[in-house]
């Protein structure tokens, strides 16, 4: 019974993401709210969540307490101290099976640069994106990913949101210019993949960008 409930609410969430799924749509409107209409991000969600979208959770609640301390003793018996760290050795091969989608930089595609704290596309960015749109139109099979990046100032977490806003702003502008939305994906790297590592405005400027890369192979 519980399981059914869980699955149902999951379906609910999925349907919000995929809009217009019949059946649960009434309820989705109630819980989904108004975000669909904002900033033209409506069809942003990918359909990766086609399965459940939620993996298994172990029980992580605290079982005991006391920290395994036995207290001081006037006549202490010997306690064996184990290696203490309950850490597994990293097996690099464990990630070998992780399939990586490959993207490459394309010389003809220009990045968009943003002002501090901002995700508004400036005039020179619009010009760059217009040229990018032309290239995309003349290369109709190319799939492009727009990476949103930030400079090192600000928090890691908020910069991921800011990076997403930048990548979506660039993506949306390309769509406005007539590029098919299905050819454009977005990802935010926040401040985690800077192109420049100095603590200077000249460097910050280069890192506040929407970076366009092309998917390789098929």
């Amino acid at each position: 019974m519980n399981k059914t409930l869980g699955t149902c609410s999951l379906v609910l969430v999925m349907s919000i993401a995929l809009i217009g799924m019949p059946g649960c749509s009434k309820k989705s409107v109630q819980s989904g709210g108004d975000s669909q209409s904002t900033q033209g991000m409506a069809k942003g969600g990918s359909s990766d969540s086609s399965k459940s979208g939620v993996g298994n959770f172990p029980d992580t609640g605290v079982q005991s307490g006391g920290g395994g301390l036995r207290g001081l003793d006037k006549n202490p018996s010997e306690e064996r101290v184990g290696s203490g760290t309950m850490l597994a050795k990293v097996d690099p091969s464990s990630s070998a099976g992780r399939q990586m989608d490959e993207f490459r930089a394309e010389a003809s595609l220009q990045d968009v640069f943003f002002a501090y704290d901002s995700w508004t596309i400036p005039e020179d960015g619009r010009q760059a994106l217009s040229r990018d749109a032309e290239w995309l139109k003349s290369n109709p099979s190319a799939l492009v990913k727009v990476e949103g990046h930030c400079d090192e100032r600000g928090t890691s977490a908020y910069n991921l949101v800011l990076g997403e806003k930048r990548s979506k702003a660039a993506r949306n502008y390309l769509v406005e210019l007539g590029v098919g939305a299905n050819r454009l994906s977005v990802v935010s790297y926040g401040k985690e993949r800077p192109s420049c590592n100095e603590h200077a405005e000249s460097c910050y400027q280069q890192n506040r960008r929407g970076h366009l890369v092309v998917k390789t192979g098929k």
Binding site: S46, T60, L72, D73, T85, L87, S94, K165
Partner: protein
């Protein structure tokens, strides 16, 4: 009449002055007192020494050094330097003989109430033999042995023996488990990748946990310390929330909804996961019931909502929203009800973390274009800036005893990890290697 006016003007001026001074100065005093509990007087403790009893030269000294630092960091004890108080610590050898009586008397006179003595040696004769250690605690006033511990283990656990003994000391005098055996998870740059690591709370013994060659971000501990939950990039392209089991290295995806999926935080009882996801458009907060897997959406607005942190009782969440323009802290019930704004000072407040005792929320505040650590009380009445100077401070995380924070900072150039007392007083740098260490998360106490 004139006199009355004068007096009232003078009095008013005084009040005004007091008000300003109050904001600048006494706020700090409040925080300091409460961070270490208003009624708590540090206990004066002296370490007479951990003597070598047949081990390698470094053995006793190493244990003594680690123990002293642990005692100092506990903030429960005031570690005194006995020789500088004129208290000589004779070689007491294998027991507390007549010489020790004099030490106790001198210590008691100088107000040093707890004395620690110990010795360390090898458990066998061959060079790879295990190490053993004894530590004893004395009350100087009564000349009484309070109690002791005897440990044995391999040479690789020497620091852990000292940590364990330090935690026993804290436990004895406060009933709390201590933090000397806690750990800090963090992110370290490796080339262009960022991988998860775990180190001891004092920065030693760092171990790598992931080896993706890509980005693994912002780890958080499960309440039982067995798992980390963090943001990863599947196919380098799609953000997921993953978990890794520390003991086995087993790793799997727990949230895979599409879009941005960041800032996971497990509730104190482990029954709920709060996180931010943009799979419905823009970044919103969600709450997953980890048992039924039902997801409840907590925020509904066109702005970015992220970085949920649970109150210790699991009833409230503090989070970041830029619904007012720049990022600010907000509070709400853990079911999404009763949303109210917490921060009004400054145009950038982010990365909140609720203290284990519940009385403070630490966060990153932007002042004079620098990103620094601040704390605010959950009622918004008290606020204090903990760090100053240049550099970007980020990702504060509380020690389980609520007396310290760990955070990352570029104050020394590259991003490294630092520990700071909750009153903002002592800062200690924990990492020295590597090109970029960030996103520290302090484990719960064991």
């Amino acid at each position: 009449m004139t006199q009355l006016k004068l007096v009232s003007a003078w009095f008013g001026g005084l009040l005004l002055l007091a008000g300003v001074v109050g904001i600048l100065e006494s706020g700090a005093a409040d925080v300091f007192l409460e961070a270490t509990r208003p009624d708590f007087q540090k206990i004066s403790l002296g370490v007479m020494g951990i003597q070598n009893a047949g081990g390698p030269d470094w053995l006793g000294g190493r244990i003594e050094e680690v123990l002293k630092k642990d005692v100092k960091r506990s903030l429960v004890f005031d570690l005194v330097d006995l020789p500088s108080l004129g208290i000589q610590t004779p070689d007491i050898g294998n027991g507390m003989g007549t010489g020790s009586k004099i030490v106790f008397k001198q210590a008691a006179e100088k107000g040093v109430s707890v004395l620690v003595w110990g010795k360390a040696g090898l458990k066998g004769t061959d060079t790879e033999a295990d190490v053993n250690m004894e530590g004893f605690v004395y009350d100087s006033g009564s000349n009484e042995l309070v109690g002791g511990k005897r440990y044995a283990g391999s040479r690789s656990v020497v620091r852990l023996m000292a940590h364990r003994f330090a935690d026993e000391l804290v436990f004895r005098y406060t009933g709390e488990p201590g933090i000397a055996r806690t750990k800090i998870a963090y992110v370290a740059e490796q080339g262009t990748a960022r991988e998860l690591f775990v180190m001891d709370y004092d920065g030693h013994d760092a171990r790598q946990l992931t080896a993706d060659g890509f980005l693994n971000l912002m780890p958080q501990w499960s309440p039982d310390r067995r798992f980390l939950i963090f943001t990863a990039y599947r196919n380098r392209n799609t953000q997921d929330i993953d978990m890794i089991e520390l003991a086995t290295g087993k790793r799997w995806t727990v949230i895979s909804l599409g879009g941005l999926n960041i800032t996971p935080a497990l509730s104190p009882d482990g029954n709920f996961l709060a996180f931010a996801s943009s799979h419905e458009g823009n970044s919103e907060l969600y709450r997953l019931d980890t048992r039924t897997k039902a997801i409840q959406r907590l925020t509904i607005n066109p702005s970015g909502d992220l970085s949920p942190s649970w109150s210790p009782n699991g009833k409230e969440l503090v989070f970041v929203s830029d619904r007012g323009g720049g990022p600010q802290l907000f509070l709400m019930g853990s079911d999404g009800s009763n949303v109210r704004r917490l921060t009004f000072e400054g145009d950038y407040n982010a990365a909140p973390v609720w203290s284990p005792r519940g009385n403070w929320i630490a966060y990153v505040c932007r002042t004079h274009k620098e990103y620094k650590l601040c704390v605010i009380s959950p009622d918004g009445q008290k606020r204090m800036q903990l760090t100053t100077g240049p550099g970007v401070d980020d990702s504060p995380s509380w020690s389980p005893d609520g007396r310290h924070l760990v955070f990352s900072s570029t104050a020394d150039g590259k991003s490294h990890i630092y520990m700071i007392d909750a009153d903002g007083k002592d800062i200690e740098r924990l990492t020295f290697e590597g090109t970029h260490n960030s996103a520290p998360s302090w484990s719960p106490a064991s």
